[in-house]
Amino acid sequence: MNKPSTYIPKGIYPFKTKMIMTVALIVVVGFYLVSSIKTESFIIDIFVKIPNVFGLISDFFPPDWGYVTQIWPKLFETIHMAIIASTVAVIVSIPFSLLTANNVTTNNVLYQVMRLILNFIRTIPDIILAVVFVGLFGIGAFSGIMALIIFSIGILVKLMSEVIEAIDMNPSEAIRASGGNSLQTISFAIVPQVLPQFISFSLYVFELNIRASLVLGYVGAGGIGQLLNKEMNFLNYPAVSSIIIIVFAVVVIIDMISAKLREGLV
């Protein structure tokens, strides 16, 4: 603060920050221009084409409520798929999340290999998994369940291994010092610390699976997406809108229930 009293700063940001910001802004805007030309989607289009959207929305109304009776079986199939897939994924991901936590798996090679595999699994879109499983097992809910299981394991193991890595290691050291084996260490020192978060993540994955199973139906892997695909192809918009409204309601209700349950846990 021994600057001469006549010193007036030009701004509160230093020159270097301004420079970086300017370059970043140019890059962002430049990339935007390129991509809007490439995808032929300019911001102005949003305003030009909005009347179209509203025109279409009037086609969607009123929803065909008589159609609802056909929705229930497929909707329940979606929920069943999500329940089974989440359950299996939770069980399978327990050993894997222990293997990908560097404080439990001290073998560095194994740890790195596991991480690499999981990173790859997470990048595969659920729809491609569904495509492959439909090819292998045929059309139906089973292929969808398999795709959801793989998809959920990728997410669950990552979230879980991070939680396991963040736990307090003192209890496990104490158990080991008093002669406990690995299994005892895991069940008495690690499990009690991570259980609430584990259940919370499981519910979160269940929510994701409900949403994901919408897409799966498009490639024949069961669930409500099949119905959506069919009615969309027939341009049966009132039926589509009743499906969408029911899906919306189910997603909101499941989110609410699981949010309440998670609040109680953590």
Binding site: I124, Y218, V251
Partner: protein, 267 residues
């Protein structure tokens, strides 16, 4: 804290026990309902045909169609552009909504709740459903995908942004107010420096998610690499599915690495 261990355990209330048992029963009933009503034809799944499929498909899957690389990469670039335009639009649309939701910026509770409600409603729609609606509205082109990503991302970004705004240090703003700064000056010198890094970080994170999301939007006709997935799948062209998968894995991994690096630099 050391005294804690010597204290007697509080008596377990009956109410809690009843609650736990009823939750257990509900969960059990849900599972019984699920297992009894799910329709899986096990005989069809564990048949010789499935084994044949394994023999037929798996090897082809690992011989990716290298000849198709050019068209696949072109579509992948389109996918990235869709994700980018959509994320950028969402990052901008989410700002006013986030300020509306933040209880320390807008003191009116009713307005806060309206903002929250809008964001919550948007979040509840899966992107693919939005894409279906927009494809019907503006035709099967990348623009429908951009709209779907833009609207879909606004819900999550708005919520994260509003949490950032709510956690800022209000003393800075009070100090600026006290020294006679106007609203615009408060925004630029008091609020922006505090929220900008985190806003950017979340926007980049969302771009990562959007690249994944936009790679499937083509299934419903909203442009990008999903279009190719549909064609390859319908023609049972497993070599091409393998190649698409490879391109997606490589691209997503690279983008994750870059965006992770930038985010670490920012925050």
């Amino acid at each position: 804290m050391t005294d804690q261990h010597t204290l007697p355990q509080p008596p377990k209330s009956k109410w809690k026990l009843i609650k736990r048992i009823s939750i257990l029963i509900i969960i059990l009933l849900i599972y019984i309902w699920t297992i009894s009503s799910i329709n899986i034809r096990w005989d069809k799944i564990f048949s010789s045909r499935t084994l044949e499929n394994f023999d037929r498909i798996i090897p082809r899957f690992f011989q990716p169609a290298v000849a198709e690389t050019e068209s696949i990469i072109e579509k992948m670039i389109e996918t990235i552009f869709i994700a980018y335009t959509g994320s950028l639009a969402a990052a901008i649309i989410a700002v006013p909504l986030a300020f509306l939701c933040a209880s320390n910026m807008v003191k009116n509770k009713v307005l806060n709740n309206i903002g929250m409600w809008i964001l919550g409603a948007v979040r509840a729609f899966p992107e693919i459903v939005l894409a279906i609606i927009f494809v019907a509205a503006v035709g099967p082109n990348p623009f429908a995908g951009v709209l779907a990503i833009a609207i879909g991302s606004t819900g999550m970004l708005g919520k994260l942004y509003s949490e950032v705004i709510e956690s800022i240090d209000m003393h800075v703003i009070e100090a600026l107010e006290a020294s006679g700064a106007n609203k615009l000056q408060i925004l630029f010198y008091g609020i922006m420096p505090q929220i900008l890094p985190e806003f950017l970080s979340y926007a980049i994170y969302r771009f990562e998610i959007d690249v994944r999301a936009s790679s499937v939007l083509g299934i419903v006709g909203a442009g990008g690499i999903g279009t190719l997935i549909t064609f390859a799948y319908m023609n049972r062209n497993w070599e091409e599915v393998g190649m698409i998968l490879l391109v997606i894995i490589i691209t997503v991994t690279i983008i994750d690495q870059i965006s992770g690096f930038i985010r670490r630099k920012i925050v």
